[in-house]
Symmetry: C2
Subunit: 420 residues, 2 copies
């Protein structure tokens, strides 16, 4: 029988009623003829409770024990879901990570998949079981210790199972009904996409449309797993939600698919640094060590092209990071300067910026997207502070007060309210 993977996140299994609701959706797919692998998260709030206990028990905790405690939340949901399905007449069995086994590396808290042997679950399907309910977010190391994949790892578990079992599709049930051209809270013209390519989804996810975990989309892209995002709170059918798939499968293709944003960005500029080989490493090494998530980086020739205080060419370096990491970043730079590893005249922080991006696979073959974007923003007097581009994305840093305006303007400019 064809296999379908269905994943339910924490809010979708937050209580017994919601577990029952999710089970109904599983039952419907069984009736359509699928053998189903269900991946479940912990009931909403449970993981936080466990994490809190761990933190209160131990300052610098042992990640092995953290994992052993925290993974228990998913086990409870898996058992309850299997029971609910049985109660509805569907033959189901729960699976914890070690039972499958979901073999992972030993990096506790952020383990990666090594292998997911099909043998045991296939044997149960062969016995006539129709559903395997698998505890998401966890696995087992070669040492026989419970591992976790990090928060949100249940999406990744779902995709990994879809790949391992050659599933027809991997349906991610969540609290939104799909992927939108932009945030509907910013413009009512935002439109749900029927399909989106892996590449676009990756750019949208990492830019703040937090529907799917980035890692799960990467994995889906690598193994060509067709991923569907849909709501666990609506009535759903085979056409609901948004399908994240290979671009080959997307017939109609707009140049731009969506407008993403990230509200709380900061821009940090180091003025008058030595323009020498290795200077980028000297700056961004300490930032990475300090745990700063540097996003955009722009290096530009300093206005003061040659400075008496410096022996060679000088330059300025600008980068962006989340606002709440500014202190970390400043400290890392000041320490590097004090240690003589880098030299700069001044460090200027602007904490009132946001990032707005247009994303679209069609950019690859269409010129003029950047020009159109800049023109539209200019027409609204939105000043662009930093620009960075990739093959399918153009991002700009602007003053935060213009963020909503910019998103609305770009959504209009690229006519995203229209389907094709």
């Amino acid at each position: 029988m064809p296999i379908l993977v269905m994943k339910f996140g924490g809010t979708s299994v937050a209580d017994l009623d919601r577990i029952a609701n999710a089970a109904e959706k599983v039952k419907r797919e069984v009736e359509r003829g699928y053998d189903v692998i269900v991946i479940v998260s912990a009931m909403a709030g449970k993981t936080n409770e466990l994490v809190k206990w761990v933190n209160e028990t131990s300052g610098f905790y042992d990640a092995r024990e953290y994992d052993a405690v925290v993974a228990s939340g998913e086990n409870v949901t898996a058992g309850l879901m299997a029971l609910r399905l049985q109660e509805m007449g569907v033959s189901a069995r729960s699976w914890q990570g070690w039972q499958v086994p979901i073999n992972t590396t030993s990096q506790h808290g952020s383990a990666r998949f090594v292998s997911i042997p099909r043998e045991h679950i296939d044997a149960k399907f062969a016995e006539g079981f129709r559903v395997a309910v698998v505890a998401g977010f966890q696995g087992v190391s070669a040492e026989g210790r419970i591992t976790t994949l990090g928060r949100g790892g249940s999406d990744t578990t779902a995709v990994a199972f879809a790949a391992a079992f050659d599933a027809e599709r991997c349906d991610i049930y969540t609290d939104v009904d799909g992927v939108y051209t932009t945030d509907p809270r910013i413009t009512s013209k935002a439109r749900k996409l029927d399909k989106i390519s892996y590449e676009e989804m990756l750019e949208l996810a990492s830019l703040g449309a937090k529907v799917l975990q980035t890692r799960s989309v990467e994995l889906a892209m690598r193994y060509k797993v067709r991923l569907r995002v849909l709501s666990s709170f609506d009535e759903t059918d085979e056409t609901s939600g948004t399908l994240v798939c290979d671009e080959e499968e997307i017939m109609e293709s707009k140049v731009v698919s969506g407008v993403a944003y990230s509200r709380d960005e900061a821009k940090i500029t180091l003025f008058t640094i030595d323009d020498r080989p290795g200077i980028a490493a000297a700056i961004f090494g300490p930032l990475a060590d300090a745990g700063v998530n540097v996003d955009m980086i722009v290096q530009n020739i300093s206005e003061k092209d040659y400075d008496e205080a410096h022996s060679g060419a000088v330059t300025d370096m600008t980068f962006s990071c989340p606002v709440d990491q500014v202190k970390l970043a400043k400290k890392a730079m000041e320490e590097a300067k004090a240690a003589g590893k880098i030299a700069y005249d001044e460090l200027i922080v602007d904490t009132d910026v946001s990032k707005v991006s247009v994303v679209g696979i069609g950019m690859r073959s269409h010129a003029g997207v950047a020009a159109k974007m800049f023109k539209a923003l200019s027409a609204e007097n939105v000043n662009i502070k930093v620009i960075s581009t990739s093959e399918i994305k153009i991002s700009v840093l602007i003053d935060r007060k213009y963020m909503e305006l910019a998103v609305q303007t770009l959504h209009d400019a690229f006519e995203l309210e229209k389907s094709v």
Copy 2:
């Protein structure tokens, strides 16, 4: 290094403070030179929550899934306890049932031990770990499914580990500070026993002094595991609590060690039944099938020794059971009568009785205990309705209103307030 097993029940690990308190006691034993195996229950209330969820999810639940859900409570405690010990500088590792592995039968919900291989835990001790924190109450079946031993199974886990690891002792930390000559709520003269034999403990446990699970005492007796009951809320040292041990180890031996009681008993009498071979089976078979825990049984010749309605000899049959099983028992008897399997003229129920017992290993070699007991009760005008005896116990069924009086009277009569 010598091995000590320490077990902490649900109230002893009810929250993070109590887990920390228990960890202190473990640390002290490590400092005394023991390698310690700690058996933990779920945090008080957690198992009930999980059981409630299972019951609300599924009417006739699958015991495999019940076990998978319910066992997770102990896993959380095990991880937290290991973290707490690490925080205190004690090298500890948590162990779930399947990791040890604790091999059990497949009787989910009431599994029995098959084997507890020492290999993995011994290897950790050899590496320098000083504490293995084991999730109690659970195991793993040959099919790789999680099993549970039934409520209270953590005591049994502790004893099984003590046997498997040749532990010097198995300390059961609970919310009482030991085993008493009788319930201190009934008489302030009740005295804590320093030592008690397995046999006496078994009689006391099954009679209502619910300090230790009967099964754990049976197991301790079979493997000669020295069992100590002590309070997790008091300061404790090597002499605290009560040691349950082989009678050889008990130097001073009183004839009677304790007075036990069971308040809510019922007495059921079937009048005028055929006195034929197989009649006991015909009566107690249906009662067992209905789940009635029959305790005392007395068969006596009917006053109406020969009855016209019966073709042969007749008799009366009296038995006791918990009050809340009277309905079940009546129904089972009436159905058996209707089906023609048994015949009786009348079924009389007395729901206002209690059982009081004196227990003591010394009875084996001392005559006159029964006579002394009956005389003491008679002096207080307590009427005895049913008597049953075993090698080390004499039990009587009396009107409930006399229960406290009877316990106090017997405690005085056998001078239990005095040690030896």
